[in-house]
Subunit: 210 residues, 3 copies
């Protein structure tokens, strides 16, 4: 017979994993921001994104091991699992973005469209509020403003994404360039969504624990 106890441990390891994962996402969005600089070394950005994606995989792996070997966890195992997995998802989209810009040779163009840089800026801000929020999971205090801000940023990203597509489909670029930039735009938009999923999971956990 299993009965659910609300006994919670003092072990901080789980919060450290989430914080490290989120700090790694800040590194990721900082690398993407380098793409905004004309003449950026896109191959180098893409490779360094690959490196920190590898770091994220390592953190996620350690987190899963910790879940599997812990008798008690600070909140439901499934939620810890989901949160770790969703933080990892964000990194996958950041890495994919850099890789596509590189593979498609998009930086041979004079500059990336302004709306694309706006999307990268939104991601950078989402990464920062997420990294600030993760340590607060320990006390479950002051998290509400985080998920509200993260969702607000997602809406801002959504608008930038729509206007980016309007520009891409305006006739300014040839069809193949449109298709390439559309792929990059889609990854950026998935990354803003992925940050929102993290925020939604934090909200769900907070609702359960309150």
């Amino acid at each position: 017979m299993t009965v659910r106890f609300k006994l919670r441990p003092k072990d901080d390891t789980f919060f450290d994993y989430f914080t490290r994962a989120a700090q790694n996402l800040v590194k990721g969005t900082e690398l993407l921001s380098e793409l905004a600089v004309p003449g950026a070394d896109v191959q180098s950005v893409s490779e360094r994104l690959g490196d920190i994606e590898h770091d994220s995989d390592q953190i996620t792996h350690e987190l899963y091991n910790k879940i599997n070997t812990s008798f008690i966890t600070p909140f439901d195992r499934e939620d810890i699992y989901r949160l770790g997995s969703q933080l990892d998802d964000v990194m996958d989209h950041l890495e994919a973005t850099g890789n596509l810009v590189y593979l498609y040779g998009l930086t041979k163009m004079p500059a990336l469209p302004r709306e694309m840089l706006e999307l990268i800026d939104v991601l950078d801000r989402q990464a920062r509020v997420t990294a600030q929020a993760m340590p607060k999971l320990k006390t479950m205090k002051d998290l509400k403003e985080y998920w509200i801000e993260c969702n607000r940023l997602e809406n801002e990203g959504d608008r930038a994404y729509r206007m980016l597509l309007v520009r891409l489909f305006s006739g300014e670029y040839d069809a193949l360039t449109v298709l390439k930039m559309k792929e990059v735009a889609d990854e950026l938009e998935l990354a803003t969504d992925a940050f929102e999923h993290v925020a939604n999971t934090v909200e769900t956990i907070a609702v359960k624990e309150s």
Copy 2:
């Protein structure tokens, strides 16, 4: 120690939220149906969709507050949360559709493709069966025909979507128009999926409660 009681309250507020949210979706699909009329005022349709999306956000917000302040709920908190969030997702796709048709200026064409109007019709029927089903959550009776019909409609929408793409890629339109209509088609298809997700959650709740 938490033990799960199957004590259920008489409070009808939750069912009212779901019903209002679904009725709002009917307003949304009615607005999209206006796009089928040649010479439709697309800007006005898009703006009115923006207004009712705002109403949906408000309903979802009230629902979440109600979850957080209720001691007992008619079924699992997480399922109430998910159902509210999924009803809201449908609205996001309806609003996005109207907005894209407007932003891309697609109505300068003689008429939207027939398969696109079929998709809008499928959405309208999904909205109506959903709005009829929501009040039945109170008794959990006669819901099965709803989720079967909603899934059947999603299949119908899927076929219309595939045939729409065949038409878009047939050479009838220039590449940029194809890309714009493809975006609109994708939103419509996501909306039919989103209605199916609502139906799947209702089925999951019914399975648990039975």
Copy 3:
């Protein structure tokens, strides 16, 4: 009052459903592999994929009935439900792939791009490891290597998908052919993702049961 017992039945029916569903997916990827042969009868492949998708729907339907009529289940109802639904999702993407290749008349081309055939090969290997893993759910032993391999294959598929897009956007094909092949590529990529979702659910179940 409901209290969760860890009493587990000897009934093997559930594992049979999962095994049959996964074996059906092997049939599906074998059919897709026929597309690699120049001069393949694409209409016939598409129709046979439609038939086995119908078989999958039938298996899923029987599984859901079994869940609803069973007093005890080998693991959480929701997880059984999710696993059944995710196996069904894979089939939907396999069927869609065959149908799109047929509807778009893509086989009038000399051959499908090499990277597309690589993606189909990845799917075939994912189907085989999944079919081998399903009977092991009964003992929950030796499943870890399955989900690791299935995730590794998804990564391999991801790389093939990216390189496929690089080829599609290289200028080798006209814009409409690019758009058609992109749709097929997306379905294949969704299918590799869907196999990964199955593996993730198996992992989640194993973590809970351990």
